[in-house]
Structures are given as structure tokens and as C-alpha cells.
């Protein structure tokens, strides 16, 4: 029986490789995906789906008056950021970053941008 199995696998080597490749890729992908789902978010339970950023991954950005729509779109694209609220009373926009984005370093980098006038961490994060 083992000989027959060996013969079968030998004749179907391409199928064997495709099967192993698919299984290896899917297993690794599932494990990483599940690991990301269960990764602890800062102070909040993780939620499924695209918008799984916690409250602490938001910044309040004030854009320069001379910034064009294209400048703002390009800047937000470069960080994968989305506007979730604004303009507020200070003409600031609440911008959500991805969970993997280091907040303090990103805020420091954004302050140097020619498009940004001011950057403030969201109030709930300042005490951390």
C-alpha cells in the first residue's frame, strides 16, 4: 500500500507541491491573521473588521491654510490615515491611524510636514 501511495505521489508531484504550498501559505496566513485579531489593543478590547483602531491611535491635526486638497489627501495616504471627525472648533481634524503606527513618533514626524500647522495627541492618550 505504501508502494502504491509512493507511486501515486510520484506521478502527481505537481499536485503534491501545489497542495503543500497552498496549505503552508493558508496556515501561515490564518495563524498571523488570528494572532492580529487577538493582539491586545491599548486599553480597549480588540474588535474585528477594518476599523479596529483604538481611541489612542488618533491625532488632532490642524492643516495649514495654504494646504490644498491634494496635499492633504497625499499626506493621509502616506500614513493610511482617515479623518473621523472635524473640523472642530479649532479647525482641527481628528485623524485615525492604524494600530501598528507608533503614535508619538508619527506625531513628531507630522509636525515637520509642510502641510501641517499643529499636531495634538488625543486627550485620552496624554496621560499614558
Amino acid at each position: 500500500m505504501l508502494t502504491q501511495l509512493s507511486d501515486f505521489l510520484s506521478r502527481r508531484s505537481a499536485f503534491v507541491l501545489v497542495f503543500v504550498l497552498l496549505e503552508a501559505g493558508m496556515l501561515a496566513g490564518f495563524l498571523k491573521g488570528v494572532g492580529q485579531l487577538h493582539a491586545p489593543a491599548a486599553g480597549l478590547a480588540a474588535t474585528r473588521g477594518a476599523g479596529s483602531a483604538s481611541a489612542c491611535s488618533t491625532l488632532a491635526l490642524t492643516f495649514r491654510r495654504t494646504a490644498t486638497e491634494r496635499d492633504i489627501t497625499l499626506l493621509l495616504t502616506q500614513y493610511g490615515a482617515t479623518i473621523v471627525y472635524g473640523p472642530d472648533e479649532n479647525s482641527a481634524y481628528l485623524v485615525r491611524l492604524s494600530d501598528s503606527q507608533p503614535l508619538a513618533e508619527t506625531a513628531a514626524a507630522l509636525r515637520e510636514s509642510a502641510v501641517i500647522d499643529d499636531v495634538r495627541l488625543q486627550t485620552a492618550c496624554r496621560t499614558h
Partner: protein, 571 residues
Amino acid sequence: MRPPIASPRQAPPLATRLMPELLAAILLSVASCAEYIGLGTQATSSLPGSQAVALGAMMGVLTAVVGLIGIALGGSIQPLISGPRVAATVLFSNLLATLAAQPRLAAHGLPALLGCAALAVAVAAITQLLLAAFKAGTLARMVPAPVFSGLLFGAAALAIESQVQTVTHCALEWPPTLVVIAAGLAAHFGWVYGVGFAARRGYSLPKGLSLFWTLLAGSAAYYAVLGFTPPAADCRTLGISGFDPGGIGSGAVERWTHTFSLLDGAILAQIGVYGALIGVLASLDTLIAIANIESSTHARAKPNRDLLMHGVLNLLCAGAGLLPVVGSLTRTNMALAAGARTRWTAILHALLTLALILFCSRLLSYVPKLAAAGVMIAMALDMLDDWSKLITRLTFSDMQPRQVVAAAMWLFVTVALVTIVTGEPSDGFAAGCALGVLPLLWPPRGLEVRIEVHPARIDVGLGGALLGHVVDRKVCEPLLARVVAEPGCTAIEFDLRALQRVDLSACKALIQFEALLRARGVAVLYRLKPDSPAGATFAAIRGDQAPPASFADVDVDAGNAGQPGNILHMN
């Protein structure tokens, strides 16, 4: 009967070739644009933001345009179709993922990450330029064949892993995701099966169109289910904003100076290793594509000049923030099968592809991200090369001697496993190279080569150990030079009876060299001792890989084991 000496084909005048070249270019564009989009989306799959996918698609298409025009104008042999390739792009994508995990770099967004990745492309370019300058294209061929096969397998698994993460993420929010992916993959395998079915009935269909059908079927399935339930925000279409060239080229000088200020020793070392690996892999892929054109068109290429051109193009791509340019065997084969014979196919294909991005970006913006993910999964499954299938087939067979097959299989599995587990192709490659050196620790290690030139024949005697890392340098290159210098040479006879040791990489290199010689009208004959392990191994691999041998004048006399005899004539 003496086989005719084939003369290299001459390039025909453009006026007679324009229509066939245009038709080949159209077919190539339809088949390959899906590949360029899929590769680009794979390259930026680890970057934050839903627009990163469209940015990647644009990078993939623009890389193809640069590669096609550059090689069409400066390559030594045509039609060589260059552009982004799966293995190099997966390495690029892994590097981006590694860099994105560094807080210092991630804090500065896409410009910093793409800038660092572009540095790796520059290192790859410099690697290729060095290989060309020192005429060391054969250095890349010294790496054992199972190592490259294992690396391709591991890279393919990482590509599938990356796309499965995306698919899992979308499927949890929007179950019809699986319908879209299944439709795309069904179209891919259906077309591949259809090509085989048609071939058995005497019809020829272009296999490369499978990715186009994958993209089309996936997109159709997406829009079919869209009406029932809306997808999650990250799982919709490519969109138009990512096709803004400003995403790549704005403030290039500022971006580069800023990027350099963020680098430290550890990041530079990482970029250097990835860049060198991309350079070696890209060089090998390119050399394989060139060898294929040589055997198909009977023309002689200048591999070092082509490596030089690819190095220059990759420097351009690094400056522009694009993907590495690599010579593509599959697309080149597709072009040849479609009737391409000159550089005009590549040029017309580049113009059509450029028109797509300039005038049809609105159309491209409607392509679903999940359909592009399906294309990438299909491409990853196609990454399996013939030698990984051969090693697997031999492992489950009863071919003797078993240690030769086992050595190759262990090397293949180790490289693939290390690559998949660590997520770093460079780790797998390093492990493979380290393991590949082990067989050199025990004798015999050296190869003795004896070449005798006769009026119409060259006799080559090989003794000792025929291992993969010496075949090109000690056997193939010198013989090819003699064949070119002696136009009257019609046959080469290899005497392998004194061989004590052989590995699968050497068998592969010798068989490929035989195919090249046959294409040039030179017959190849072998003298073997069937009862010796080395002879038995080579005969088994050769019999599996090449047209069946006709046995003539075979004298299997056990009492004369030490006498000259046991000749295998192969025509």
C-alpha cells in the same frame, strides 16, 4: 546522419513584421497587465492605508514600462520581456513589511518606507552591475539548484500567506469574499486545464491568459455579489486616489535626504542583504530568460551586457521608487509563442501598458482588491519550477542512488521551511548556501576536465566529482567558447565513466547545456558506466528530462567492467 547546423535567425525588416509584432504586443498586454497589477499590490500589501494597494498597482505597471523600453533599446537579444517578477517582488514586499515594523521608519509614512526599499533596489542594481563588470554571471549559477527551487517555494508560500491575511480580514466582515477568490482561482485553473485539453487536440492556446481570466472572473463575481451586501471599506476597489503619481514622485530629493537621515547600521545591513539577494535572484531569472531566447531563436546573446542593462534600469527604478526589473521567462515565452521576433513587441507592449495607466486609470480604479489578491495567489501557485516537481517526483520514486535524491530534497525542504517559518527569504537562502557547502567537506571534491578537439568533434573527459557549482565554469563556458571558435564542430562526446560523484544540480546544468548545444545543431553523446552510481544517476535524470535516448552498440559485459564500452548514443 549529421544534424544540420542551424544558423541564427536574422531580424526581418520592420514593415513586414509590424502587424505580427503588434498582435503579439496586444496579447502580451492583455495577459500581463493583470500580472503587473497583482505584483504591484503584493509589493505594497504590508503598507498602511487602503490606497497603498492602488499605489502598488501603479508601481507594478510603471516598472513594466521602464523594463520593456529599456531592454528593447539596450538588450543584446530580442524579444526579451522584462518587468516585475514574482520572486524579486515578494522579497521587496517582505523587506517593506520588515521596515514597516520599525517605529522610527513607520513614523515617517510611505516616503520613508518606499525610500528604504528603493535603496534595496539600488543595491540589487549595483550587484548586477558588479556581476556584469567582472563577467561573473556564472557566479549566480554556482548556487545549488535545490536552493533556488526552495527559495521560490518559500517565497510563493509567503506571497500566499500575505494574501490569505487580506482575504481572512475581508471574509470576516464580508463572507462573499470567498466567492470572489474562488471564482478567480476557478477561472485560472479552468484556463490552464483548457490549454492542456486543447493541446491534446492539436490546438494552441496562450497559457499566459489565465491571469487575465482570473482578474476578470474575480471582478465579475465581486460586482455580482455587491448588490446583495456591501463590502468592508478596506475590501472594495483599487480606487482612483492611489493612481496619483504624486504618491511616488513628489518631493523625491527631499524624500531621499530624509530617508538617509533615518538609517542606522542595522537597517542598512538589512537593506544590503535584501538588495544583494534580489540582485542575485534577478540576475539568475534574467540569465534563464536569455538562455531560453538563445535556444528558441538560435541567436547568441551577451549575458553580461544584458545584466549591465538590467543594472542600469534598476538604478533608474530605484530613483523613481519602483519595483526591481527582471527578465521574465514566462512572458518571453508567451511573446515568442505569439510570434514576436524583434524588439518592437516589447516597445508596443510598453506603449499599450503606458496608455492603460495614463488614459484608463478610471477603469483600473474599478478593479476589486480581492480580484487582485486572487491574481497574486494564482501567480504564487505558478511559481513552482520544474526542478521542485522533479525533486518531489524522485523522492517518491525508487530511483537509485537514494542519497543523491535525498541530499537535494533535504536542501529544498530546509530552504523552503526556513523561509516560511522566519518569513525572511534571506534566512532561507543563507541556510541553503550553508548546507550546500557541506558536501564539499568530503572527497572527492575536485573535477578533472580533459578536452580533445578533433576536426568535427570535441571529446570531453570528466573525472572526480561533478558538482553544480563547477559545471558552468569548468565545462559549459569553455566548451561553448570552443564551439563558437570551431564552426565545423557537429558533435561533443562526454566521457563520464571516470566520474565518482555527481549531484542533481550538476545533472541539471549539463542537461540544459545539452539543450543549448542541440539548438545550435551540435549533437551530444555520452559514455557512461551504467553500474556506477554517478552514471546511473545521470542516466536516470537525463532520461527523465530529455527526449528518450536511442540505445545503440550497448555492450553490457560484466566481465569487462574496466574496459571502454557501454556507450549511450543520444540523438
